[in-house]
């Protein structure tokens, strides 16, 4: 039996090596992506106008800030080795360095929506179950958040390469474990983290981008928010607002 810190180090090292291996040497998957891209380009030349623009064209129509060298096909499935677990930059709608909100319409094309359905289908039945899917608008990338080491998900990168193109997909480690998420969810459901919690309007949802809960608490009860943040720490991002039945 390994002493626990050494065991964790060994697991992380293994995961890192596996990530590198899957992202750099999965040539079959890359070839599959290139084949799909090439076929798409050919079919787009023959397709009549309005008959469904090619996948690549559909996405590139909304491309703007992300510039890719024209002769290099970017990897369609890659690994986000370092997840964004801090509080800094991934708030939905957060303004980027240029002061503008990332555009979200890259995912709104019919082709992108159809590929997204395929991505969800490819994730069904995976074990350990993915935490969820999130979206990196600045990189125009679908991010699949996984609680286990990437190497656990044999063939996933190749499968996603096949079904998702031309969408880009990133695999990202979850910031929190399923057990931690379950603990936080139980606390939210019981509404007992503060004496006023059960009577304070509260809305919450699991945000896979940091594998924690975004919570809106009525702005009349800042102490309820503070107590929740104290209880859950990085598992929660709470804001004051006006959660209401409409």
């Amino acid at each position: 039996m390994l002493y626990k810190p050494y065991a964790e180090t060994a697991i992380l090292l293994f995961a890192f090596v596996a990530c590198r291996a899957s992202s750099t040497s999965d040539s079959a998957a890359q070839r599959a992506v290139e084949t799909v891209t090439a076929n798409t380009a050919r079919s787009s030349q023959a397709a009549p106008e309005g008959a469904g623009a090619s996948a690549a064209a559909a996405l590139s129509s909304s491309a703007g800030s992300v510039q890719v060298p024209p002769t290099v096909e970017p990897e369609r499935v890659f690994s986000d080795v370092a997840p964004l677990c801090g509080f800094a930059s991934d708030v939905p709608g957060a303004k980027g360095a240029a002061g503008a909100r990332p555009k979200t319409d890259w995912l709104n094309t019919p082709v992108a929506q159809e590929r997204l359905h395929r991505v969800h289908a490819a994730l069904e039945g995976l074990r350990p179950a993915p935490i969820g899917v999130t979206f990196d608008d600045s990189r125009r990338t679908v991010v699949v958040v996984l609680p286990g080491a990437f190497a656990t998900y044999v063939g996933l990168a190749a499968n996603l390469s096949r079904v998702a193109a031309p969408l880009r997909v990133a695999l990202r480690h979850s910031c929190h474990s399923p057990a931690e998420i379950a603990r936080a969810q139980t606390l939210l459901e019981k509404r007992n983290w503060h004496p006023q919690a059960s009577s304070t309007p509260t809305a919450w949802y699991l945000d896979p981008s940091f594998a924690g809960f975004r919570v809106t608490i009525d702005d009349s009860a800042p102490e309820v928010r503070a107590a929740l943040e104290q209880k859950l720490g990085t598992l929660v991002r709470a804001e004051l607002g006006k959660p209401r039945r409409l």
């Binding site: 939905p92 709608g93 909100r101 979200t104 319409d105 995912l107 709104n108 929506q113 997204l116 359905h117 969800h120 969820g132 899917v133 999130t134 979206f135 679908v142 939210l188 459901e189 509404r191 009577s199 304070t200 309007p201 509260t202 809305a203 919450w204 949802y205 699991l206 945000d207 809106t216 607002g241 006006k242 959660p243 209401r244 039945r245 409409l246």
Partner: protein
Amino acid sequence: MSQFRGLVQAEFGSPARLARLDDGEPHFGGAGIDSTPNSVRCTSGPIVWRSGLLGSVSVAHCFSNGSFIFSGPKDYGVAAGAAPYPSSDLIRIEPGGQQFVDTIHTDPCCPNARDQSGKADPLQGSDVCFSGMVTKAKCGIRVVALNQSFCDSVGCTTGLAVGERVGVTIAVQGDSGAPVYSAAGTAGATIRGMVVAGSGPSRTFFHTVSQIESQLGVTIAL
């Protein structure tokens, strides 16, 4: 027009079927409704089949079983069969002799109404539209989460999807019950759910279409 000089006063404007707030027969979904006449409080959801009759649905926090429902001055139906509240926030609108058609209001524009042509639960990342009586049709709303909760002093409503469009008001007070849909072609709508609550003007919680059907014992009319 000159031959009717003196008999006609003509003017330019934007004539349209502004029937959301006084929705007559055959009734559409997405209408402004209330339990008192000449008033609107919430929105009717998609049109549904039950026991061979067309009716609608809405939210239980707006109506009680047995309430007569009006759209402005016009009869709209009768509330019935609320799912267990607050874990669900759903109620049927039975026709009570009124005629319905499987169409939802989608004004202000283009088109002003859509036929219900499909149904499917939303996926994370999918793009949906809301059509409430106050905010009216708003699209480009991203589904950011599924199976989430809204809680207030009454209790928690669970299993909700979350839609968000940063910087845009997508639903406000009175839009509860609004059909959630995605456009299908130029005149169709794939029904995805029904608005329940919000945690701000840009983030809204909604019941999915499968919850509506299973918990109210209805079938989306197509």
